[in-house]
Amino acid sequence: MKIAWPHMGSLEVVLTSLFDEMEVDYILPPPSSQRTLEIGAKHSPEFACVPLKTTVGNLIEAIEKGADTLIMVAGKGPCRFGFYAETQRRVLEEAGYQFRMFPLEFHWDKLFELVKTINYLKQGRSWARFVRAVRFALHKAYLVDQLEQQALHQRWQDKQEGATSAALKKAYQLIRESSSFEELDRARREAFQLLYEVPKDEGREPIYIGIVGEFYLVLDPFFNLGTEEQLGRLGAYVERAVYLTDWLRPSGKNPVGGVPDRVIEEAARPYLSHTVGGEGIKSVGHAVLFKKEGFDGVVHLLPFTCMPETIAKGILPMVSKDLDIPILSLVIDEQTGKAGVATRLEAFADLARFRRKKVNHRGMLPAFRTHLA
């Protein structure tokens, strides 16, 4: 049995760690590429959202590499994400592939099925070992997110373009290689040291840009066409609304992003007063919060036809007008070109810089997300 799963940002680090700890066979699908998008889009429903198309592509490439057991998270809506596993299964069966699919549903009335599935997937390893492995993997995810956040915060200071990204890659490698809590602790120190040691240009003034949107696009640099890196290069201190850990730990406290769900929903209430599935309400709430914290602009990323984010996109212009903060909505699908996004981001960064000079206070640091900086 060779397990595979679709890519999503740094989920790979978490799950490889989990399966390595358990000594269970797995196959890592090749990194998402143009080919992934093409074969995914070929087999998927026409106006399904990009994440579905690319995950189908990932799964096909994994099966081609020899995977026979696919795992995928499932849910209960109202966003389409909860129905992904079922649709992927049908799409792949339609395309004639041989595999077994295990949807993992995380809520109370599906607990029995979940336990049964995990029991099967862990292939006779003990439950204690499974719990230990999960705990360790979550710690890794947390660390990865903290590093990523640090990189987002400091990229604008790079003396040499891409230095932070290179350091981040090295840091990931350190984390991937560590296999015990002591090693992870050492890796944490070394990794942060790597990031801090990147040569900095002290004379610059940053602009502050927040990123909100659908998590798949926000988390995965391949699909947001490197929006975060580009913004960093344009001199922006970037903060993200959602991190992988915030999503994996459904306590609503968001340890990395730093703002609990309750606060976000409260912030969104004047504009959107009911959850609409996915990240819809969070996108609106975070946009409001970013303004309150003194950010200069918000970039909103959404896949084409995404239902919750389309609602957010309809409401964000009002937020922008009410609170006087520029918001750029980028709709991304498999046809989106890199140059188009780059041009818009450049123009947006110029606008934000202009506003920082004229409207916002010079050198003011955003209010309460600085606890890790």
């Binding site: 429903p45 109202p78 966003c79 649709t87 009911h274 609409v276 084409f304 239902m307 389309t310 996109k313």
Partner: protein, 350 residues
């Protein structure tokens, strides 16, 4: 949901001594619940104003105002809301969250009141009770009651309005199930019923706002009647059959209206209720994009009932649509003739 300005507005109106004019945009859930809303609001003493049938002007207003990525019915709904905004004191857009436990309606319907509020600067007050049967009955009662309080302070009148409206709603549903189009069932237009023993029978499966909107579907139902076909819609398939089909599926479908669509479509296929199925989807419809492949696969397992999928959006051309429908109907006719001949052949042989 019943915030401060609503109440002050009522007292202000009370002083003016005129009844409040409430606008109901004729899009999306209008085709399902309008008699319910209308009788509830009118019983409470409001004047109900509709935006009427979709027209070219309404559609283009909606398209220019709504998000590009929205689906066609939401764009149409924007158009209707904009057409009403200058004529009324308030717009009635309920937030329907779920119709039964562990289900949801489409996310677009969850966010609809907020979308309408942000559609224009000078939007009148938007009345939006949150109806959510995933939560307790008490929650829903309070939602309805708080709407009633905008119009009257007499609690019994509100309760009676609710009961009255529910009765009207049941009558309306019964009429839909008997095969009357919404406008005929509401008694606004005269016309022939969907089923009256014509030679073909076609299942037209799709959301109410897609199949009954005569403008965006270019009067599909009328045309099919003209080609000599009886029509079966989602409403006309008994609920028990739909539920039976849906419960057979491996993964529970959690969208209320999609459950109905899938149930109706599969019931049509399994029980051979129809000669062919026309499945209507609006472009960029989220849930439908997922269940389409499910329907195709499951239907194939139930034997080969021909199915035509029509994806409509604001650019759909009349000629393209008609050609496809004509071809489909011709094919069904030929198929039916051949089958009849075979049947007669068998009888003769016996």
């Amino acid at each position: 949901m019943n915030n401060g300005d609503n109440i002050s507005f009522t007292t202000e109106l009370g002083m003016e001594k005129r009844s409040m004019r409430v606008g109901v945009p004729s899009g999306l859930l209008y085709y399902r619940y309008f008699p319910l809303w209308k009788s509830f609001l009118e019983y409470l003493g409001a004047e109900v104003e509709e935006s009427g049938k979709t027209t070219r002007a309404i559609l283009s207003a909606g398209v220019s105002k709504a998000e590009n990525e929205s689906c066609l019915p939401v764009k149409v709904f924007y158009g209707h809301a904009l057409a009403l905004k200058d004529r009324v004191d308030a717009i009635f857009v309920p937030r329907l969250v779920s119709l039964e436990k562990k289900t949801h309606t489409c996310p677009k319907l969850l966010g609809l009141p907020d979308l309408v509020r942000s559609a224009a600067e000078d939007m009148p007050m938007v009345i939006s009770p949150t109806i959510d049967f995933h939560r307790s009955l008490w929650f829903n009662y309070r939602a309805v009651y708080s709407i009633g309080r905008i119009f009257t302070s007499n609690p019994f009148r509100i309760i009676w309005a609710g009961i009255h409206a529910w009765r009207r709603h049941r009558e309306y549903q019964k009429k839909l199930a008997e095969g009357w189009e919404p406008l005929l069932a509401m008694g606004k237009e005269k016309g022939s019923p969907l089923c009256e023993g014509r030679k073909l029978r076609i299942g037209v499966i799709g959301h109410h706002y897609n199949i009954y909107d005569t403008f965006t579907t270019m009067s599909l139902l009328e045309r099919l009647k003209g080609y000599g076909a009886d029509i079966i819609t989602v409403d006309m398939v008994p609920d028990a059959w739909k539920e039976e089909e849906v419960s057979r599926l491996p993964k529970r479908i959690y969208w209320n209206y999609e459950r109905e669509l899938v149930g109706a479509l599969l019931a049509c296929a399994r029980r051979r209720l129809v000669d062919g199925i026309i499945f209507i989807i609006s472009f960029a419809c989220g849930p439908d994009s997922m269940i389409h492949i499910l329907c195709e696969q499951e239907k194939r397992r139930l034997g080969n009932i021909p199915m035509l999928t029509l994806v409509i959006d604001e650019h759909t051309g009349e000629a393209g649509l008609i050609t496809r429908i004509e071809a489909f109907v011709d094919m069904l006719n030929r198929k039916k003739k051949r089958e009849d001949r075979e049947k007669i052949g068998e009888l003769v042989a016996v």
